[in-house]
Amino acid sequence: MKSTAMPAFSSKDAVVCRSVGKTWAAGTPQAYEALRDIDLDIRPGEFVVLLGPSGCGKSTLLYLIAGLKPMTDGEVWSFGGRVETPSPERCLIFQQAALFPWLTVWENVSFGLSIRGASAADRREAARKALQRVGLAQVMNKRPDELSGGMRQRVAVARALAMRPKVLLMDEPFAALDVQTRAKMQSFLQDVWLDSGASVLFVTHHIDEAIALADRVVVFTARPGRIKAIVPIDSPRPRDPFDPESEAMRRRLTDLLSTEVDAAFAEQEAL
């Protein structure tokens, strides 16, 4: 089975996964193995994209790293501490912005501070700063349903930034947006990432998104998700999606993914 050797990693690593596995509804007839044997180290300030076919468990890995769901096997460490519960240091950003519709934008952004009991003036100031970083200080007093989908997602990023996270976990955050907004959001995210110094783990099934954003691309197999390959991308940012380097990378990632997409497809047809 799994090796139980002491984890060999530096306490400075942002995220360390050792033999992580997850089976949903374990021990029931509906048991569903989502992840198996994930070993992954993420450095501070690194931008890592998790790429794989739909349903391969990449989102599940984010929930485990966030501490929102318990893992079945293995362990996750972050900056030398074992991950067992959620923490504002590891903020998860969802596909839908998950803002509280009954709060204004600034109250949403400072929600975490209000949990800690900060004064209204401090919260407002912190919210203003976080919203400035995502370019939305002017909508502080609006409600989420008055904003566009892209703006809501930026507010969600500001809410995470207000907690000064060391790791940003992003679960297909731009999947619900149109193509033009998505491109804008990608360059926005790069600015935020460079500015904040946080590590980013970004889940997507879009190859182009991975090429535009990643320091390293982690390619997953079809279910149960395992790491098939880790592909570094060294070209400088901002990247031209049509230059030969990007084309070559697109070809390589497409080849890596295609067999997995076929496998996922075959499994879905068999159901």
Partner: protein, 302 residues
């Protein structure tokens, strides 16, 4: 502070506000017009059926007949006339007062039962989801009693409370309480899990998650539940009044049945319809103020 300065009304803003208000008034009038037309249309069909002689006017008197006898019918609303042998006719309340006091008595029972059921069912529903102990202790009993018809509770309410207001209020309460508890649980289970995950990530305690996330998240759904159950409350209160109480619209319906007075039945039904309509309107005003963040929805009613 600068964002407050931006909001000062300028003259063009003012004109826009006026235009918006005018549009709202026009829309309100149009909705009212359609409401009157809807009721008038079906009343008109009834009148037509009467005019062509398709219906028996003694059994199904059309609106112009049963509304034409309002004053004559209104005297039946006076409890004194029906209940007290020695009361002289001039000691009776005026017909209008008799109708108003009957309507007020029934409305108060509906309101009391609805408020009680709302507060206790929401409290129990939240308690069941919040504390496993409450869940295990009460949920099986709630499920066990939920399908019991109000008819079956009628004798129980009389055993427990005799006659008067308490059994009628108890009937309204018990008819709503179990289903509203289950509806509260369903609302809690329907809360978007990512909202709760946000709270957990921010370090919120379970109590904070309930107070700051779950309760506001279920508030819009709960108000819809309350509105739907208010109609049920109007149905049940008549049943309770028909047997257990000395006053109220249910008593009038029973009197009309026993004295074979279709006009009185239809007049009372008209009153109940108006009351249901008015109380639904009132609840929607509450909804609009309380759920300030939700997009305005009419829920099918004008």
């Amino acid at each position: 502070m600068s964002e407050h300065a931006l909001r000062l009304p300028t003259s063009s803003n003012f004109a826009r506000e006026i235009a918006r208000a005018a549009k709202l008034v026009a829309a309100g009038l149009a909705r009212l017009g359609w409401s009157l037309f809807s009721i008038g249309f079906f009343a008109g069909l009834w009148e037509l059926a009467w005019a062509f002689g398709w219906t028996n006017p003694h059994l199904l008197p059309p609106p112009h007949i049963f509304l034409g006898h309002i004053l004559e019918q209104a005297k039946y609303f006076s409890p004194a006339l029906r209940w007290s042998v020695g009361v002289a006719p001039d000691e009776q309340p005026s017909p209008l007062m008799a109708v108003l006091s009957t309507v007020a008595a029934t409305s108060a029972r509906v309101l009391a039962g609805l408020v009680l059921a709302t507060i206790l069912s929401i409290a129990l529903g939240i308690g069941i989801r919040r504390y496993r102990f409450v869940d295990r202790l009460t949920l099986p009993t709630v499920l066990f009693l939920a399908p019991v018809s109000p008819i079956a509770w009628l004798p129980v309410s009389i055993f427990l409370f005799g006659i008067g207001n308490p059994p009628a209020i108890f009937m309204v309460f018990i008819a709503l309480f179990f289903t509203m508890t289950l509806a509260t649980i369903a609302q809690i289970d329907g809360v978007d899990e990512s909202l709760i995950d946000v709270g957990r990530t921010m370090g919120a305690t379970r109590g904070q998650i309930y107070r700051r996330i779950i309760i506001p998240a279920i508030a819009p759904g709960l108000l819809v539940v309350i509105r739907m159950n208010m109609f049920a409350a109007w149905m049940v209160v008549l049943l309770a009044e028909a047997t257990g109480v000395g006053s109220g619209l249910g008593q009038v319906i029973m009197l009309a049945r026993n004295t074979f007075n279709p006009s009185l039945v239809f007049f009372t039904i008209t009153l109940i319809g108006l009351l249901g309509f008015a109380s639904d309107w009132a609840l929607r005003q509450v909804q609009r103020r309380l759920i300030y963040w939700a997009p305005q929805q009419s829920g099918g009613a004008p």
